[in-house]
């Protein structure tokens, strides 16, 4: 399996965490690329290698039947400065290496909770479905081995690591990714990027009813924004009013045309250009994008992005 979908997930999560971190500690920044590893045991050890200890370890697990989550490791000296920035009185006064007070730990835990919530939102966006998280577990780890044990216990098959600089110390975000996410992500990514340019119909298939829909336009937005769209809000699509409308046949971008209104008021599409008859010998795509919801087997204008739902009855890909 390619690491590309995993790294894409890691990137979007790292971006979200960086923004949330800068909200509580201006100047915090992500450092370097996301690194993917496989197998909680080995990858977990690599993921914590070189980390300064003792460090605050914030772990947020996914709920909803999947194992995995995000772990953020922040060395205590950075944690103390972060707590001071957040307004914990006297936090900066304690010497380097001193133990964190309960309120300092709570402040850092809250910062991490906000980061992890942002991470979960980003993950929801990539997967195309909401990801639920449990309250954060905050503890202080005193050795690398102890941090590695947290990761090992997750038994996550994929481990993504990326570094941050927070309050002059090097911190680390470790994403523990369950297989279920990789499967969903493959589907979501595929349906976003695949443009089918061939007509896969053979003679034996000509009698099979297919779903046909017209697409007026598309938009992208954060999952949270879409959930909060009030009635009466306006979503800007990527098309002008004069632009042709795309016709899809069973996931195949088949033709473009113009919308018309029939005498009885129903919408029609007048095909202007058939684009899908290129090389007809190419294989049928394994995962065709599903049609818009509540679509009968007849042409219909769809205002939504037909590929918006990653759920597909087709078989699960091997990962």
């Amino acid at each position: 399996m390619s690491d590309a979908p995993l790294l894409s997930l890691g990137e979007s999560t790292a971006e979200a965490v960086e923004r949330a971190l800068q909200n509580v500690y201006p100047g915090a920044a992500r450092v370097g690329a996301v690194v993917a590893g496989h197998g909680a045991e080995q990858a977990g050890e690599q993921a914590v290698h070189g980390l300064a200890v003792p460090a605050v370890c914030a772990e947020v697990s996914y709920v909803d039947g999947v194992t995995g989550g995000n772990v953020f490791l922040l060395p205590v000296d950075g944690a103390r400065r972060l707590a001071a920035t957040m307004g914990v009185e006297g936090a900066a006064a304690a010497g380097e290496g001193a133990e964190l007070s309960e309120i300092e730990l709570s402040a850092v835990g809250e910062a991490m909770n906000q980061m992890m919530s942002a991470a979960a939102l980003a993950t929801s966006g990539v997967l195309g479905q909401e990801v639920e998280i449990a309250p954060p577990q905050i503890r202080v780890v005193t050795t690398e081995a102890e941090a590695a044990e947290v990761l090992r216990a997750s038994a996550a098959p994929h481990v993504l690591t990326v570094n941050f600089t927070v309050a002059d110390v090097s911190a680390r975000l470790i994403q523990l990714v369950p297989n279920a996410f990789v499967v969903r992500m493959d589907r979501a990514l595929e349906s976003q990027t695949t443009e089918y340019t061939t007509a896969p119909l053979g003679a034996a298939l000509r009698a099979v009813p297919v779903r046909v829909w017209a697409e007026l336009g598309r938009a992208r937005m954060p999952a949270g924004t879409s959930l909060d769209l009030p009635t009466g809000s306006v979503v800007e699509l990527d098309r002008e009013v004069e632009d042709p409308v795309d016709l899809y046949v069973d996931g195949l971008h088949f033709a473009t045309g113009r919308l018309r209104v029939a005498e009885d008021g129903s919408l029609q599409l007048e095909v202007e250009e058939v684009v899908g008859l290129g090389g007809a010998d190419t294989a049928v795509p394994e995962l065709a994008p599903p049609p818009p919801p509540a679509l009968a087997d007849e042409p219909e204008a769809a205002e939504e992005i037909p590929q918006a739902e990653p759920e597909s009855p087709t078989e699960t890909k091997e990962v």
Binding site: A118, A134, P135, G224, L227
Partner: protein
């Protein structure tokens, strides 16, 4: 000025919210660290306004909100949630919360939400 119950699993956040409320002339009559405690303290203290975190151990903020509204349909509850729990916030407004504040928050946003809940 209102009598307020502050609910959050992070002691730090309870302190932050309490400081803001005190600064705005309100009285913090109690605090709770999870949803179970929130319902208990609500019944015991009958605050005019309750601030409620969403992601909490034992019982989350939404379940606590549902119970509080069931027990007292006139309860004024302001949700406090981190970004990323926004859909939950939407759900909580449907359940009867008066407003929501997204963390990290500004002091006047918290005070504004409490004023709004009292109105």
């Amino acid at each position: 000025m209102a009598r307020v119950l502050v609910v959050d699993d992070a002691a730090f956040m309870r302190k932050m919210v309490s400081d803001v409320l005190l600064g705005g002339g309100h009285e913090v009559v109690g605090e709770a660290g999870d949803g179970v405690e929130a319902v208990e303290r609500y019944l015991e203290l009958r605050p005019e306004v309750t601030t409620l975190d969403i992601t909490m151990p034992e019982k989350d903020g939404l379940s606590a909100l549902r119970e509080i509204i069931e027990l007292d349909p006139t309860a004024r509850v302001v949700m406090c949630s981190a970004l990323g729990q926004e859909s939950k916030v939407l759900e909580s407004i449907k359940l009867g919360a008066k407003d929501f504040v997204v963390k990290p928050f500004q002091a006047d946003r918290v005070l504004g939400a409490v004023e709004k809940a009292l109105a």
